[in-house]
């Protein structure tokens, strides 16, 4: 890991790029973008921000995008909150521009692999990274590498049927506004100030999340689950409700081994994007 990598996180409103070397972000730029701008304009912004953090040590680029991704071809489809990005061949564009190795994946997969290289799941063979925020995203690490499934559709736990709809509906932050008329983050502040209603609401949220985690245990059964995203800041308030549900797991004798932790890593989006490069290098070493 002596080489440096540029990690880029493309959000709906901001671009973040960082030069990552030896697990440290040496230089980072965060820039607001006009998410309504045409495709080419936003691509030019991505070129610019990479140029600003890149130097001669940089061997590759990793990009995390909130969208469906064809990982092999490096194409992103229907990017969340960027309406003009319907089908962008981002890998090809960046490879031609910079002449470096480029890897693209969705933001949840970046989070999961980033946690393995630089965060809480270091040294763990099988883990799941779960992002709770404006959506519910997840990435699965299997035998120390990103596991994408046949159509890169593995780990889409948010879309799994739950109650009358799916998990994402009940676990994304907008559900708090819809159900209680108050934002999740207002409730978070209130819970931190000992507000009983806010704490009850997060305990209930934890119950629903516990059902999702049981689903993860009965499908891919990881050793550790790491939770990130803006709602993970409420971890200590939903932790109890979550375990109450999980403890109804019939394989209880084995549950002692399961660890569920809060990410707490602020820069994980950029680190995770950079980790795509390391994952790819180690995958090809294996072969």
């Amino acid at each position: 890991m002596k080489k440096a990598v540029v990690g880029v996180s493309i959000g709906g409103k901001t671009l973040i790029a960082g030069k990552v070397k030896n697990g440290i972000i040496e230089k980072s730029i965060t820039r607001k973008i006009n998410n309504k701008a045409p495709e080419d304009e936003i691509i030019a912004e991505v070129f610019d921000i990479i140029n600003e953090v890149k130097d001669d040590e940089v061997a590759g680029i990793g990009i995390g995008v909130p969208s469906l991704v064809d990982v092999e071809k490096g194409i992103v489809y229907r990017v969340m909150n960027i309406p003009s990005w319907r089908e962008v061949h981002i890998k090809e564009l960046l490879t031609n521009q910079f002449g470096l190795e480029v890897y693209v994946n969705n933001d949840a997969n970046c989070f999961a692999i980033g946690e393995m290289y630089f965060g809480k799941t270091k040294g763990i063979e099988n883990s799941v990274g779960l992002i709770l925020g404006s959506g519910v995203g997840a990435g699965v690490i299997f035998k120390g590498h990103l596991y994408s499934g046949t159509n890169c559709g593995a780990g889409e736990f948010g879309e799994i049927p739950f109650r009358d709809f799916n998990y994402e509906y009940y676990l994304n932050d907008a559900y708090f506004d819809y159900k209680y008329g108050v934002s999740a983050y207002t409730f978070l502040n209130r819970a931190n100030k000992k507000d009983k209603i806010a704490r009850a609401i997060f305990e209930h949220y934890g119950n629903d999340l516990g059902n999702l985690i049981k689903t993860i245990l009965f499908t891919v059964d990881p050793e550790m689950i790491v939770i990130g995203g803006p709602l993970s800041k409420a971890f200590r308030w939903f932790e109890k409700g979550m375990w109450d549900k999980i403890n109804t797991f019939p394989y209880k004798h084995a549950l002692g081994k399961l660890k569920i932790v809060e990410s707490g890593q602020e820069d994980i989006a950029v680190l995770g994007a950079a980790a795509l490069y390391f994952d790819a290098q180690n995958q090809s070493l294996k072969k």
Partner: protein, 296 residues
């Protein structure tokens, strides 16, 4: 990718009423023997004796390994049976140790659904499919995940236990196994299948409804492990033609339509697949070791 073994293997299928075993010689399935068990006995040794007897009938010095499929909770790493359907006396039976001491060859245990998936991978419709899910729909619902030709390794021996996943007011097993027909319609699945074959409207409706629930289970499988195929076995699979259409109809609203393009749900048609799968446990574990050592 599955390596072969030129020796002989024995596979054992432990059911609630009988123990069945079969032998595989040079990858060819051979004789099947079985014996009824005193399931109600409160001495765990009674049933261990039957298992040993059945294995003994097939055992000789060419046998290089024994695999056992168990309908219940198994610690596959330690080889301990924690809990078995219909055999109340078996709590924490160290079956691997017991049988290895008796026969002197490696013994591997796994749950019966994992054995089904493995059997399909080597001898059934999963041959040549590296990534698939085997689903057993019978009195219960179980599953096994085959990844890169091997049983998926996991942390708590609970991967692929799709039947236990929360669904509606309970879990998938209550809607996607024989339990659904008994609870909702008051008939056994076999009875309804018979009625459906005679064109009975209520029976046909029951299967149609079953198909929509099963579609949700398959969506959950697609969204979590994203396999190329789902292979369905167990007694309910025989009624596949009555619920297949409604299942596919419900799958059409899958959130990622592209993912359905190369996907298929097929029904198992191999006899004694559970025994063949149990015998394959030996190859799964030993050849997995070989490939993992090569990687390092």
């Amino acid at each position: 990718m599955i390596l072969t073994d030129n020796g002989a293997l024995i596979g054992v299928d432990l059911g609630g009423t009988k123990v069945a075993a079969g032998r595989i010689d040079n990858n060819e399935p051979g004789d099947i023997v079985y014996k009824l068990i005193p399931a109600k006995s409160d001495d765990p040794r009674d049933i261990i004796n039957v298992v040993e007897e059945v294995i003994g009938q097939l055992f000789d010095d060419r046998v290089s390994g024994i695999g056992i499929g168990i309908p219940g909770l198994v610690d596959r790493n330690e080889g301990i049976v924690n809990d078995v359907q219909n055999i109340p006396s078996w709590k924490e039976v160290h079956l691997k140790n017991i049988l290895e001491n008796r026969f002197g060859v490696p013994v591997y245990l796994d749950n019966d659904a994992n054995c089904f998936a493995l059997g399909e991978a080597r001898f059934g419709r999963g041959k040549g499919v590296d990534d698939f899910v085997g689903l057993t729909l019978g009195t219960g619902m179980g599953g096994g995940i085959i990844k890169e030709g091997f049983l998926m390794s996991d942390a708590h021996c609970s991967s692929g236990e799709f039947g236990n996943i929360p669904y509606l007011d309970s879990i998938y097993e209550d809607y996607c196994s024989g339990k659904f027909f008994v609870k909702k319609y008051g008939f056994k699945g076999e009875e309804l299948a018979q009625a459906a074959s005679e064109g009975d409207k209520l029976a046909l409706k029951a299967f149609e409804e079953f198909g929509t629930h099963l579609a949700n289970a398959i969506k959950t499988i697609k969204l979590s492990v994203d396999p190329k195929k789902v292979i369905i076995g167990g007694s309910v699979a025989k009624a596949g033609k009555y619920f297949e259409t409604s299942m596919w109809k419900s799958l059409l609203d899958f959130p990622f339509p592209r993912a359905l393009r190369d996907f298929d749900v097929i029904f198992s048609d191999v006899k004694n697949i559970a025994i063949l799968g149990a015998a394959s446990l030996y190859l799964d574990r030993t050849s997995r070791k070989v490939t993992e050592e090569n990687i390092m």
